[in-house]
Symmetry: C2
Subunit: 188 residues, 2 copies
Amino acid sequence: MEKELIDHLNENGKYSQDDFKLLETELLQLSLKEGEIILKEKEVCSSIYFLIKGAAIQFYNDDTHNAVIVDLNGPGDWLLNHKSFATRKPSEYIIKVYSDSEVYQLSIESIHGLIAKSQSFFQMGKILEESTSRVEFFDHNYTPDQKYHFLMERRPHLIQLFPQKVIASYLKITPETLSRVRNRFSKT
Amino acid sequence: MEKELIDHLNENGKYSQDDFKLLETELLQLSLKEGEIILKEKEVCSSIYFLIKGAAIQFYNDDTHNAVIVDLNGPGDWLLNHKSFATRKPSEYIIKVYSDSEVYQLSIESIHGLIAKSQSFFQMGKILEESTSRVEFFDHNYTPDQKYHFLMERRPHLIQLFPQKVIASYLKITPETLSRVRNRFSKT
DNA sequence: GTTCTTTCTTGATTTCGATCAAGTGCTGTT
DNA sequence: AACAGCACTTGATCGAAATCAAGAAAGAAC
């Protein structure tokens, strides 16, 4: 099992050597090419994917067929649509690999099996807690500068993984505004 | 048990007569006066409340001590802070009764006990799914008109329960803008 | 290398919602 | 009834970000 996942699990819970061995038997390692779709629109999210290397985006197409990016992911992140996974209903969003990536796939059946074998895997339920950062963005009604600072503090690695137009879409600002924010920011 | 709760449960799951009886023994009915606090800041949310009559708000105080409203509730809604309830960590937000209200209180211990007695109560886990409307607001980057239309479609009763300044804070627009939106809206 | 494309930057202009400022109307209190 | 205190409306102005429009820079394809 890759170091990334071991570190991630140890940071977010307590697992024994046996737990790691159990988990390893359920993981499916996949290599994905840029542009591959992990979760199609209207498909039920029935696996979660641990991103070892690469980058992924979650988005939907608005009425004018523009991709609206709702989440960005880098190495160490879990890829899933929380809502679809929890409700077993079709996903409104699409998950797509943004650059060549390595992932571990873990099916919902595997997760249930693991929990049956070891209570430790209950802790994985944490993955289901929607990363609250998006909700906080909304609650706080941030300015473009605040949004960028927020991103720099919480997920700075994402800035390296995606072009600015993607970051801008994620932050709900225009690429021009992001360029000016970065310009201001680099002078302080 | 009040009709509101029976209807609510039947709409969101399948429960037997025995389930209702079991539940009834765990419910604590409370009358609350306008302004009473249900969940204090930094308190762990260890009960959920079903709002039979009245109205409630969830908010936090920003750096300048203005209340920023993050959720509004009316009869038929459950009152809880999802994040604190799920993580057992202190809540960042406050839940306050906005007008004299009738609620049922249900503690987390009661919920666990109910699940132990009847699998039906697993379905209550749905309550824990964060109402997605707030996230959608953010994802879609709505204009003030769209926000108001969204509210009119999804939760029109809230508009009757709260003054416009409260609705405006919830929608992250000024009361002036809301007044103009409503004015435009009433002419179509 | 050179060309073609895409990304990023920079400037000018526009636009929408916030802010500022009165004024109106409603409710409750004495 | 008279007043005080709010909630709401309406108008005028302001400002921040979007939009429009070139260019510059950086990659990719040949």
